[in-house]
């Protein structure tokens, strides 16, 4: 079975979930809730981009939440003083630096990606806590908060930013050499190396990009919250993995379309939204998300097997 048909299954499954929810959950279909949902979905998709890139190269970046916290806190210090542009650039640069460090250690020193990014998560979170000393940096100028709070017509700005970023990533992954090498390295790093592809450089680039995307997500979140603290993104690695898996990015690497993250984001946002709309205890959210992930992956496996049988 070809990839487009599998993606079609996924879209159909999400559409079915939406239909059921629309009918049974009161106030789900209201305009304000749908806008709210769209914003949450695209923010989740954005958070997941870093994790997804690392998954595509058969790795995993667990440091994204910590990187987002540190870079956005440092950026916030500049932004509250009115240096919005330099603040944003500094934040993104820190993300790139942290990501690059991850990539170099993994590609050149062959450190297991889990150990490296897991340790990085603690180191960077520790740095963020040391930097903020448990306080928050707050009160940003409007020239920054519009990133998280404003609208383009009826569409919230985080949705616009998320869509643009996902679009660019899609082009990068499907139309460029970087993209082709990424999928090749993810499918089989050794084979890619033997066939003369710059696998190590690709790994470093992928992790650096993951860091930049984490920082960008962090910046949009602090613009929405109008404050930055070292607590930001504690759950992001796990949420990012959930979105990626539901969106069809394979853990084994080299498989998946980055646009699938939109579906993953929608599913995750809908589950959280419904739990709150129905007034269920918050623990149900975790419970349902676990279920949905298994269900989606199960459907994937079944359709994949059938595909092989037909071939």
């Amino acid at each position: 079975m070809t990839l487009p048909t599998r993606a079609l299954y996924r879209v159909a499954a999400v559409a079915a979930i939406l239909a059921v929810v629309w009918i049974f959950v009161p106030r789900f279909g209201t305009e304000s809730n749908l806008i709210n949902l769209l914003r949450q979905a695209f923010l989740l998709a954005l958070v997941s981009t870093g994790v997804s890139l690392s998954m595509l190269v058969a790795g995993l970046d667990l440091s994204i939440g910590a990187v987002a916290a540190l870079s956005s806190c440092l950026a916030a210090t500049l932004i509250v003083q009115g240096y919005v542009g330099p603040g944003i650039l500094a934040g993104l640069a820190i993300g790139a630096l942290a990501g690059m460090l991850n990539g170099i250690m993994i590609a050149k020193l062959r450190l297991p990606f889990f150990i490296m990014t897991f340790s990085m998560m603690f180191i960077i979170r520790g740095l963020a806590l040391t930097y903020t000393q448990g306080t928050s940096i707050h009160g940003f100028p409007r020239s920054f908060t519009w990133l998280g709070k404003s609208f383009l017509g009826p569409i919230p700005m985080p949705v616009v930013v998320g869509a643009v970023v996902l679009g660019l990533l899609h082009i990068l992954l499907t139309k460029t050499t970087f993209g082709r090498i990424t999928y090749a390295v993810g499918a089989n790093a050794e084979a890619a190396r033997f066939s003369g592809l710059a696998a190590d450089r690709n790994l470093i680039q992928a992790y650096a990009l993951s860091g930049v995307l984490a920082s960008l997500s962090g910046l949009i979140y602090i613009a929405r919250l109008n404050a930055a603290d070292a607590d930001l993104g504690m759950m992001w690695p796990l949420e990012g993995i959930a979105v990626a898996v539901i969106g069809g990015i394979a853990f084994s690497g080299g498989v998946g379309n980055i646009l699938g993250l939109i579906l993953g984001g929608i599913v995750m946002a809908v589950v959280g939204n419904c739990v709150n709309l129905l007034g269920l205890p918050a623990r149900f959210q975790d419970f349902f998300i676990g279920f949905v992930i298994i269900l989606v992956v199960l459907i994937d496996h079944v359709t994949q097997k059938r595909g092989k049988a037909v071939k």
Partner: protein, 326 residues
């Protein structure tokens, strides 16, 4: 000449001090208590330090206040090890992590240095006593203000702390106890946002679409109140948002009218009570109670109307104990 004079004065002070101390179990002037807090750049713990120093002054004992350079429990343990080497008479510890600090307390136990546990409960080791803020009372103050302000009628949403955390359970207990007394108040929803600003904003977004009419949001800490107020502002809705802890950012938001109020969780008195009880243990051999509950620093919610009074009352308290506020 001058030097001789000061030496004489010093000698006199020492003699008087020793004479006074002879009456007690241990001389106050020779007694040294160390208070180890989580973080001295955070105003809350600075006020806790002032409280500890004030109690020390009252008993005439030496109080040293320390905090790790880095916000980590292992660094607190390292500080405790140094204090054991220096043979201080007692350690008052405010653990960054209640489970992580246990080995530090056990080391002090082995060296026979008494440990008093403040603010965050340690899960093991021998301590002479524990003191912490009365979370139930904080919740009651918030709930009572809600009932009074709404005149016993209205729609309320509660954002709870981390599920299972004792502070969250106790604050919630206090709030609901007060709200129950006013049957006209309807609790539309009570759900956790894990003491977290980001989480509170998301949960509030959903609750705003679910309930077209909300009059008040009661949050178990200020971080959640600050997240919720952003969601409300973005939805262009208006309702009273209350927090607990009186962190500087929340007091700022109260003054600006972005938050209706917050409840003081009183760092000063916590520090004072802990050092006071420890001093009594060392000097008068009085065993501290197992669990001392410290009351809020302000009997009511701190609102825009009384925020200035609250700051003034606090400043006066500091002045009374001769503390210089920077």
């Amino acid at each position: 000449m001058k030097r001789t004079l000061s030496v004489t004065v010093l000698a006199l002070v020492v003699v008087v001090g020793l004479a006074g101390g002879a009456l007690a179990a241990k001389a106050p002037g020779e007694t040294h208590v160390a208070l180890v807090v989580k973080d001295l750049t955070n105003r809350f713990f600075v006020e806790m330090k002032w409280g500890g120093e004030a109690a020390g002054k009252q008993h005439g004992i030496k109080v040293t206040v320390l905090a790790p350079e880095k916000y980590a429990v292992d660094n607190q343990i390292r500080i405790m090890e140094d204090l054991i080497q220096k043979k201080v008479d007692a350690i008052v510890i405010v653990p960054i992590d209640g489970a992580g600090i246990v080995s530090g307390i056990e080391r002090a136990n082995k060296a026979k240095i008494p440990v008093f546990n403040l603010n965050t409960l340690a899960t093991g080791g021998d301590v002479i006593g524990f003191a912490g803020i009365d979370h139930v009372q904080l919740g009651r103050i918030q709930g009572q203000w809600g009932v009074d302000t709404l005149k016993s009628k209205g729609n309320v949403v509660i954002l709870e702390g981390t599920t299972g955390a004792s502070s969250a359970i106790e604050r919630q207990e206090g709030v609901t106890e007060m709200l129950k007394k006013a049957p006209g108040i309807k609790v539309l929803a009570s759900t956790t946002a894990k003491y977290n600003r980001q989480q509170a904003m998301k949960v509030m977004e959903d609750l705003l679409t679910r309930f077209p009419e909300i009059d008040m949001v009661l949050c178990a800490n200020d971080a959640m109140a600050l997240g919720a107020k952003e969601a409300i502002k973005d939805a262009r809705r208006k309702m009273a948002v209350l927090g607990i802890d009186a962190i500087p950012e929340a007091l700022e938001a109260v003054q600006k009218g972005e938050m209706a109020g917050t409840v003081d969780s009183n760092g000063f008195d916590q520090g004072f009570v802990a050092v006071d009880l420890t001093a009594k243990y060392l000097l008068k051999d009085q065993k501290p109670p197992k669990d001392t509950k410290v009351g809020s620093g302000a009997a009511s919610v701190i609102t825009k109307a009384n925020a200035a009074d609250f700051e003034k009352a606090k400043a006066e308290k500091f002045k009374k104990f001769g503390i210089k506020v920077d």
